[in-house]
């Protein structure tokens, strides 16, 4: 088997052994859910319910408020109790709709459209938009927009991201093993909608069984290729995945995959798309990996959106040691949270718990100029220059060194022997330069 890849990157231990062999378990419906209005990139959704309203499972409770926005649905049957600020798994607070659950799980009406592949592209997009689907790999870009490229920019290739390069996470892996046909159905729907000529499914080398399964199931589809990829972080980053599969380079300075005629979707998103198009089922649940050395029984849990992280930990039997760090997402790009109060969102791929020792903060030393960050950067930027430019407020230098192009994969920081918190400096630089640009415009 030939494994493709990209230049740069790092090799953290994949730590998937904790949860990779646990089949997806469906979580009981919690007594209460908290559904943030902002689970995606773009404007927060507009609530269309008020406290006291009774809602069914799958009922629309907030509408997209702009072109780049997302519909939200109730993930349970029950009564809206309040709409207020709540902890968000992104590490901040946001407006959220709180719903108290009733015993009966009463769904809105679903359909079964067995001929879903015969639907028009317009109808498919309508169903995807109505289902409130966004990218489920982490960033949460509204899927409808990705599937509506401008007329002058046709898409010829769809890539499904089954790489899951973040250590610990196994939710995509379990989905590929347990629902491969739904994933392939989702891919076909996307390809049809975009009139794409070819579809790829990129999977990393540490998931050979998934590679084999997907290859077997697509052997009669002449336009679908399973692409085995080298085990290297960040293989699942959009630009790196596109490059590995097609050798095309997405332009920097804000270029989108569509400029090289590619659309990338996560395998989990493909399942959501399939369910939305065939059954009109809105995106109200997802698979999330709960893992870490100190988690008693690490699991892959299918949970309703809005389920509190603390309940997931409880389902895994709690922890064997005192928690030192709570990470929402993967360990390379995820957010550290102060507590377990935040809820599962459409983008929540993982919840990791570290012990005190794994959580310890490493002290920053002066840069040794060893250049490891430069070698590791998959985007060929100069991470150490960015860090020092931001530190000394040299915004021009920071921009020249590529701060705005940085996708914050963290490879640089991972290998830095001086433990410089490069991503933290990048964040400061991005915020400052964005603010300065905004001021310059007005």
């Amino acid at each position: 088997m030939k494994f493709k890849s990209f230049n740069g990157g790092v090799h953290p231990k994949d730590s998937k052994e904790y949860s990779k062999s646990s089949a997806i378990e469906v979580m009981d419906i919690p007594k209460k859910v908290v559904i943030p209005l902002s689970q995606h990139i773009g404007a927060p959704a507009n609530p269309i319910v008020k406290p006291g309203d009774r809602v069914k499972t799958g009922q629309l409770i907030a509408e997209p408020s702009a072109f780049v926005s997302l519909a939200m649905h109730s993930s349970v049957t029950g009564k809206v109790t309040k709409i207020a600020m709540n902890p968000h798994p992104g590490g901040f607070s946001s407006m959220a709709i709180e719903i108290e659950t009733e015993e009966q799980d009463e769904w809105v009406e679903l359909i079964d459209d067995a001929n879903y592949l015969d639907l028009s592209a317009e109808e498919i997009k309508l169903r995807i938009g109505n289902a409130g689907i966004c990218g489920m790999g982490g960033a949460g870009f509204p899927t409808l927009i990705k599937l509506s490229p401008p007329a002058d920019k046709p898409i010829d290739t769809v890539i499904l991201n089954g790489v899951e390069c973040e250590p610990y996470l196994t939710s995509d892996y379990r989905n590929m093993l347990e629902r491969p046909k739904d994933i392939i159905a989702g891919l076909k729907i996307i390809m049809k909608t975009l009139s794409a000529k070819q579809g790829y499914i990129g999977i990393e080398a540490n998931k050979l069984d998934a590679i084999k399964l997907m290859t077997d199931l697509t052997k009669n589809d002449k336009d679908i290729y399973v692409v085995p990829l080298k085990l290297k972080y960040p293989q699942g980053a959009e630009k790196q995945l596109i490059y590995a599969c097609t050798k095309r380079k997405v332009p920097n300075k804000g270029g989108l995959p569509s400029s090289v005629e590619v659309v990338v979707q996560n395998v989990g998103t493909a399942i959501a798309i399939y369910e939305a198009v065939r059954y009109k089922k809105p995106l109200i649940e997802r698979v999330i990996t709960v893992s870490g050395r100190i988690v008693k029984n690490p699991k892959n849990i299918q949970a309703r959106v809005g389920t509190a992280f603390s309940e997931l930990v409880e389902k895994c039997g709690g922890t064997t040691e005192e928690i030192g760090k709570i990470i929402s997402g993967g360990p390379m790009m995820g957010f550290a949270l102060p507590d377990l109060d935040a809820p599962v969102c459409k983008t929540s791929s993982g919840l990791l718990l570290f012990n005190q020792k794994e959580a310890r903060s490493l002290e920053e030393h002066a840069c040794l100029r060893c250049g490891r960050c430069v070698d590791a950067c998959p985007l060929n930027l100069l991470p150490s220059f960015i860090a020092s430019a931001v530190k000394y407020k040299d915004w021009d230098m920071a921009e020249k060194s590529g701060v705005m192009d940085c996708m914050k994969c963290g490879s640089c920081s991972y290998v830095c022997p001086a433990h410089i918190k490069i991503i933290q400096w990048v964040d400061i630089g991005k915020n400052q330069i964005t603010a300065m640009r905004r001021t310059a415009k007005s």
């Binding site: 005192e322 030192g324 760090k325 995820g334 040794l368 250049g371 930027l381 100069l382």
Partner: protein
């Protein structure tokens, strides 16, 4: 009760390296060369090294104490500087020579610029340059013979009588340098010059150079020991191959073409090996040119750095007054590093014209 959890910026994983890891592994990698020095020169090699290390570490601790900064001598970087200063003098040197060299290296070469990470030239090389400028005779004469062989590595019996004196008081590179001196050519006769040159580059001399049975600086004598350490660092990914490969490669190519005593292409095929194995080239290429703080951070930059150091080394060895040019070559290239980095910054992935 709620646990106290740490909230920090991603990534939340880190590989096993840190400053100490890097520096102490370099110290370990220098040990074979030190052992070779002790084997060939006796315990004076060890005592000189210990004096040097103590001076370097004490100076660093004192300066940090005076500046009310955290004392970081345990990171191992001052230990490396101390070892390298000792490695750059011969085994007959006085103890105070390395002590002065180490104090200068740490105080001026390192801490005057702000300490580890901020220095612009390799502190140990600056220390050596200071010693060479201040006590040129002590640094270039009075070489210690090894316990087993000749200073120049040449088997003395094969040498014409008139040249024996010349060969027995100089290092291999010293001999090579003298053979280019018109006065010496006149005094011992052209035929004898050829004879000495042939012996200087024959297999038995190369063999002595490789194992270390020659008179050179303490850390430079055994190419074998230095290569052991170099392989260790390469395998641990602590040094990167580009600088040493292009440095040594450049010396190889240039000395092949210009290394003879009769002009272009007049040298025997062994002359590049002679130049690689003698003097401080291997020590410099693997342990000093690769000093991360003072070498380029880009891959292309490291190639340019290596080639530049190679050219300067060969020019000094073949056409300069000094027999050896490694330390000046690296020091000069150190100064070019910011410029090299500026012009070799990698093309961002998917670069588009703005």
């Amino acid at each position: 009760m709620k646990n106290k959890t740490i909230v920090s910026s991603s990534p939340h994983l880190h590989d096993a390296t840190n400053v100490k890891y890097v520096m102490w592994h370099v110290v370990i990698a220098l040990m074979p060369a030190l052992i070779a020095g002790i084997i060939f020169f006796g315990f004076s090699a060890l005592t000189i090294t210990i004096y040097s290390v103590i001076a370097a570490v004490t100076t660093e601790a004192l300066i940090q104490k005076l500046r009310k900064k955290p004392i970081t001598v345990s990171d191992g970087s001052a230990v490396i500087t101390g070892i390298l200063i000792a490695f750059n003098v011969h085994a007959n040197s006085s103890w105070w020579l390395v002590v002065v060299g180490s104090i200068f290296a740490i105080a001026i070469g390192k801490h005057a610029f702000g300490g580890l990470g901020y220095n612009i030239v390799n502190p140990a090389l600056l220390g050596r340059a200071f010693l060479l400028a201040s006590w040129p005779t002590r640094m270039t004469a009075g070489w210690a013979k090894t316990q087993f062989g000749e200073l120049s590595g040449i088997t003395i019996d094969n040498i014409p009588a008139v040249a024996k004196d010349l060969v027995s008081h100089a290092t291999p590179l010293g001999v090579a340098n003298m053979l280019r001196d018109p006065e010496i050519v006149t005094s011992i006769g052209a035929d004898n010059v050829y004879s000495v040159f042939t012996h200087l580059t024959d297999f038995s001399t190369l063999n002595n150079l490789f194992w270390g049975n020659i008179g050179q600086c303490i850390g430079e004598i055994s190419a074998f020991a230095l290569l052991l350490g170099a392989i260790y660092l390469l395998l641990l990914n602590i040094i990167e191959w580009r600088i040493p490969a292009f440095y040594i490669g450049t010396v190889f190519v240039l000395t092949y073409f210009f290394g003879g005593i009769d002009g272009f292409m007049s040298a025997p095929i062994t002359i590049p090996l002679f130049h690689i194995l003698s003097g401080g080239l291997l020590l410099g290429a693997f342990f000093m040119a690769t000093d991360m703080v003072t070498s380029p951070i880009t891959k292309k930059g490291r190639i340019i750095f290596g080639i530049g150091a190679g050219i300067i080394t060969v020019v000094i060895r073949l056409y300069g007054g000094y027999p050896e040019g490694v330390s000046y070559a690296i020091l000069i290239m150190n100064l070019f590093v910011p410029l090299i980095d500026k012009f070799t910054s990698p093309k961002p992935f998917g670069e588009v014209k703005a």
